[in-house]
């Protein structure tokens, strides 16, 4: 346990100092950390799911607070919570099958105080209640008129417990944890493999002789284009250099290494070139529930230019980038200002900075991210396929449970 705590602290420090860059790397680290948290968590006999949820939440809050701008952390924590809840539910429903059979023997089993009275509940009601906790309120649940109980998760888990008592208590306990870790491993696999999933769809979107504009350095975009290249499509790529971090140069270097025809342009030439571009493809930093995109700085400019010239603006995003939150003033609140030294050499302007004798002041603004409103985005390509911006909220509902939205 103490070693888990120390790794958590270490990771929090890394996040705080912005040592980990890129949402994918962050997501991967987070999910691995959470896996170790779960595996080291001592699970009580009663209510194990709740214990796991509490532990993950506690760590998750620390991580989110360490870098609130990196939305992937929160996303992954919510995903893990969702996995726990879902595994718990599946155990419950599995047990529910045995509920009818074991109905008679149920009354004898009274050692679990929390279990008292609940077995009387019909399986259908329990299932419906469980469903309502896992899914956001849908029309079906509303029509069924099932009362939503805040204690349902606990109920279901304890219900499962009460069932499990009869069978094999210890094996079931281990089974939940085992299932959760299995689920988290799947998530890790999914995050690692989202590139391939997205890249598989490249061939449907890139045709021969296409001209593609991209900016920022995104591994997803790189894989996407290379996948199209491997399918013998020949096209050319314009890369905006992305001052002041020059990530475009890195991307261009990689693209050229893979044999793509690449032209590096300055950021200011985006508008000039967009009239000859067939498609803008960017990698997102995060996708908000309203379909808005947070991307590398300069993306909004490209999106506006693309809209002006009716060029499709395509956003590639792995599922770990889908954030269930609705943004408010994201340009400022979900942004980060980096060091002014990237823009201005301090030594060069030190003589202007004496702030006395009638000289003016200098402010340097160097934001990291840019927000693109959903109406400028033509298409999202995620590992589950292509989606409209207006559909994102529904997609996101599949990945997260409603209870975890506010952490």
């Amino acid at each position: 346990m103490p070693d888990v705590q120390s790794t958590v602290v270490e990771f929090v420090n890394k996040l705080r100092k912005r040592k980990i860059e890129g949402s994918q790397a962050t997501a991967k680290c987070t999910v691995e950390l959470l896996r170790s948290v779960i595996s080291h968590q001592r699970v009580p006999h009663a209510n194990q799911a709740a214990a796991l949820i509490d532990a993950v939440k506690a760590v998750g809050e620390q991580l989110v607070a360490a870098n609130p701008v990196e939305l992937a952390v929160g996303n992954v924590v919510r995903r893990v919570l969702h996995i726990i809840r879902e595994e718990d539910l599946s155990l419950t429903t599995a047990a529910m099958g045995g509920l009818d059979l074991l109905d008679a023997s149920d009354d004898d089993d009274v050692d679990n105080c929390k279990g008292i009275g609940y077995p009387a509940m019909s399986a259908a009601v329990v299932a419906a209640a469980a469903r309502s906790t896992l899914r956001p309120p849908s029309l079906q649940t509303l029509l069924e008129g099932t009362p939503e109980s805040a204690t349902v998760p606990y109920t279901s888990s304890s219900g499962a417990d009460s069932e499990s008592k009869t069978a094999d208590k210890s094996s079931l306990t281990r089974k939940l944890k085992h299932d959760v870790i299995e689920g988290v491993n799947q998530l890790i696999h999914e995050i690692a493999g989202c590139h391939e999933q997205i890249a598989e769809q490249a061939i449907e979107h890139i045709h021969q002789n296409e001209v593609i504009l991209t900016l920022g350095s995104s591994r997803t975009v790189l894989e996407f284009m290379c996948a199209a290249k491997e399918k013998k499509r020949s096209f050319r790529v314009f890369v905006a250099e992305g001052a002041p971090r020059y990530q475009g140069h890195l991307l261009a270097k990689e693209l050229v290494a893979r044999g793509l025809q690449t032209t590096v342009i300055t950021d200011s030439a985006v508008f000039a070139m967009i009239s000859r571009v067939n498609m803008v493809i960017i990698g997102a930093h995060a996708v908000m529930a309203n379909g808005g995109v947070i991307g590398p700085v300069g993306v909004n400019m490209a999106a506006l230019a693309a809209q002006k010239h009716a060029v499709p603006f395509v956003v590639l995003a792995g599922s770990h980038k889908l954030c269930p939150l609705y943004p408010h003033n994201p340009e400022v609140l979900l942004n980060e200002l980096r060091s002014p030294s990237e823009l201005l050499d301090f030594g060069e302007f030190s003589d202007c900075l004496d702030f006395g004798a009638g000289s003016g002041s200098i402010q340097v603004v160097n934001p990291t991210f840019d927000y693109v409103p959903p109406n400028l985005v033509s298409l999202f390509i995620t590992d589950t396929g292509g989606h409209n911006p207006s559909y994102m909220y529904r997609l996101i509902a599949d990945y997260y449970s409603a209870d975890d939205l506010v952490m």
Partner: protein
């Protein structure tokens, strides 16, 4: 073809831009037809207003309509030629404009007339006229104080700036009269001794005492300045004039087949002029035969870039880096190019002079020098030979760096002036006339125009505003500094972009003058735009479909400003207006050094990477210099003719070009 429009002959004054005061429109500048027998009658009959006392007329901007007499073919020719009589009327119109400019701001034309520097020799003149017209000196000095630091790097442009400035100043002073007439709409008006007398006679009839005094003062001052500069010049300019004033056939007619009737001759001349007015198609560099032809003539040896950007094959793409050493080593061997032009070419190539105004001024001053040193070879015509000489210089400059649109306009002006030189001028007279024309162009079209723009634009700055500007535009800098000086409280956001980072220059200048600045790069534009209340942009050229052609990135700024509903104000001198049309940034552009894009600050990444993959066929670096902004993003254009919407550009280009006012 023009007879169709004969019905429109009634002169109407159309004004452009936004003006607050109510004033009776002054008459259009009427130039009587030289080939007609009774020029004066023609004038008065066609414009009844011309004799009305116009002392208190206010006309910051007016477009004289095209005059179409029934025999209108001749008017175009006449436009080039001076007339003996209408001096006083023109001068009164000039006075009217003075007042009007005064009301717009504290603009002081006599002060600005003399350019940035008013050396002692001209002090008398400006002092006199200032007190006479009742201008506030304090304001004018403020204006001029804000001027020299901003703007063109004259020190860069010329090794001995003092000398050149005094040259401009004296030229302008000695030409006081000429310029006065010019402002009121004369393309070329000359005062001769007999003419002056006539004028004075006319003055006594028509003008008030004060106005007469004003004219006398101005004449005296002009004479004094001319004397100070050298009696030779004064003499020559005095002698140069009668030739022009007398009625003569056009010089170019000699090259035309001689026909019996005058009207036929002029018809041919007009036809020819028309053809020259049509803008030439630009050189397309993917046209093999033309490129080869051009190469054979070329002075500069250029190796074509191996790794060309396919989309821009129609633009010159040369290897950089070896031109400058080549050229500078050839400095003493090349005698076909005048050394001043050579120097300017090198400066353009090396990027020592950048910014459209500065480049244009440097070029014109070099031409001035070249013309001064020019000697007509025996058995050759000055007009023809000088034109070919200038053409040679221009193609040399193009090889150094493609010309900007404004430079093209200036060259066209110069060629026009050469073409219009009266044949009976002696060589030295012609040279002096040309040099003074060039000096006048620099003064009026660039320096004075900038001052007028500053005066207009500063009215659009209110306290507490956040003004966003992009890159470095000398006019915008002047506006900001002037607004700061007259006590407006505002903040400036400077947006910059790679690879030139001109914004840093502006930042330094503004901060040292005490302005509060925010500096950011173009990618962050949508972050910073929410703070801005106005966007001020400079321009390289504005085309007649309203497209703004400016430093690359301008279009992005305008687009984002438009998306955030922030007004975009473009500041552009009218000599940069161009009658071409442009839709995108691809067809006509200039490519900069691709290495400037490839080389990124070393602390970011390993500096080696660009070197190692530079010769990869698949990787190109594209360094666009300009882009074009669609007119719908532009809220307003501030030019020396006032504040106008982009849709008015073709009107100004057409009307003023016809009147030979624009150039």
């Amino acid at each position: 073809m023009d007879t169709r429009r004969g019905a429109l002959a009634v002169p109407k004054v159309r004004r452009v831009g936004f003006f607050t005061s109510i004033e009776p429109p002054p008459e259009s500048s009427q130039r009587p037809n030289r080939s007609q027998s009774g020029p004066v009658e023609a004038t008065t009959s066609s414009s009844p207003l011309s004799n009305s006392p116009s002392g208190n007329l206010i006309s910051p901007v007016l477009i004289p309509p095209s005059r179409h007499h029934s025999d209108n073919l001749t008017t175009r020719v006449a436009a080039a030629a001076p007339v003996p009589v209408p001096g006083p009327a023109a001068f009164r119109r000039y006075l009217a404009q003075d007042r009007s400019l005064l009301h717009v701001g504290s603009y002081n034309p006599p002060d600005s007339l003399l350019g940035t520097s008013t050396p002692s020799s001209n002090g008398e003149f400006s002092e006199d006229s200032a007190s006479l017209f009742g201008f506030q000196r304090s304001d004018s000095t403020k204006l001029s104080a804000s001027f020299p630091n901003g703007g063109f790097d004259l020190t860069l442009a010329v090794r001995a700036p003092q000398e050149s400035e005094t040259k401009i100043a004296t030229a302008s002073a000695s030409e006081g009269k000429k310029k006065i007439a010019k402002v009121s709409g004369k393309s070329e008006s000359v005062t001769t001794k007999p003419q002056k007398e006539k004028e004075q006679k006319a003055l006594k009839d028509k003008t008030t005492k004060a106005e007469r005094r004003a004219i006398q003062e101005a004449q005296r001052a002009a004479k004094a300045a001319a004397k100070g500069e050298g009696s030779r010049r004064a003499d020559e300019s005095g002698r140069a004039n009668p030739g022009k004033a007398t009625k003569k056939p056009q010089p170019k007619k000699e090259r035309l087949p001689v026909t019996s009737s005058v009207s036929e001759k002029t018809a041919v001349a007009v036809e020819k002029e028309k053809r020259m007015d049509v803008p030439q198609t630009l050189m397309q560099y993917d046209d093999r035969s033309r490129v080869d032809k051009a190469k054979r003539r070329a002075v500069v040896e250029q190796t074509e870039s191996k790794n060309k950007v396919e989309l821009f094959l129609h633009l010159p793409q040369y290897e950089r880096g070896n031109q400058l050493p080549n050229l500078s080593s050839n400095f003493f061997t090349l005698d076909s190019i005048h050394h001043a032009v050579y120097k300017v070419g090198l400066q353009h190539l090396a990027g020592d002079i950048s910014g459209d105004n500065a480049r244009c001024i440097a070029m014109l001053q070099a031409f001035q020098e070249a013309i001064e040193d020019y000697i007509t070879p025996p058995m050759k015509d000055l007009t023809m030979d000088l034109t070919t000489k200038i053409n040679g210089y221009v193609s040399f400059l193009i090889e150094c760096r493609p010309l900007s649109m404004s430079m093209g306009n200036a060259i066209r002006f110069l060629k026009n002036q050469i073409r219009k030189l009266p044949v009976n001028l002696s060589e030295s007279e012609a040279k002096i006339s040309l040099c003074s024309d060039i000096g006048r162009f620099i003064d009026e079209k660039i320096i004075l125009a900038d001052k007028a723009i500053v005066q207009h634009a500063v009215t659009k700055i209110r306290d507490g505003e956040v003004l966003l500007t992009y890159g470095f535009s000398c006019v915008v800098e002047m506006i900001l500094l002037y607004a700061h000086e007259i006590g407006k409280k505002f903040r400036v956001v400077i947006v910059d972009s790679r690879p030139n980072l001109e914004g840093q220059k502006l930042l330094r200048r503004l901060v040292t003058r005490g302005l509060d600045c925010t500096y950011t790069h173009i990618n962050a534009i949508s972050y910073i735009m929410r703070e801005a209340t106005r966007v001020f942009l400079g321009a390289s050229s504005i085309f007649s479909n309203g497209t703004l052609y400016a430093r690359v990135g301008t279009a992005c700024i305008a687009m984002v400003a438009n998306a955030f509903s922030v007004p975009v104000i473009v500041c552009c001198e009218a000599y940069k207006f161009h009658e071409r049309v442009l839709l995108d940034s691809i067809c006509s552009n200039e490519l900069g050094d691709p290495d400037a894009v490839a080389n990124i600050p070393s602390f970011r990444t390993n500096a080696k990477h660009s070197k190692t993959i530079n010769n990869n066929k698949n990787l190109q670096f594209l360094n666009l210099m300009y882009d074009s902004t669609p007119s719908e993003y532009i809220s307003m254009i501030v030019s020396d003719y006032g504040m106008i919407p982009p849709t008015s550009i073709p009107v100004i280009v057409r009307e003023y070009r016809r009147e030979h006012l624009l150039l």
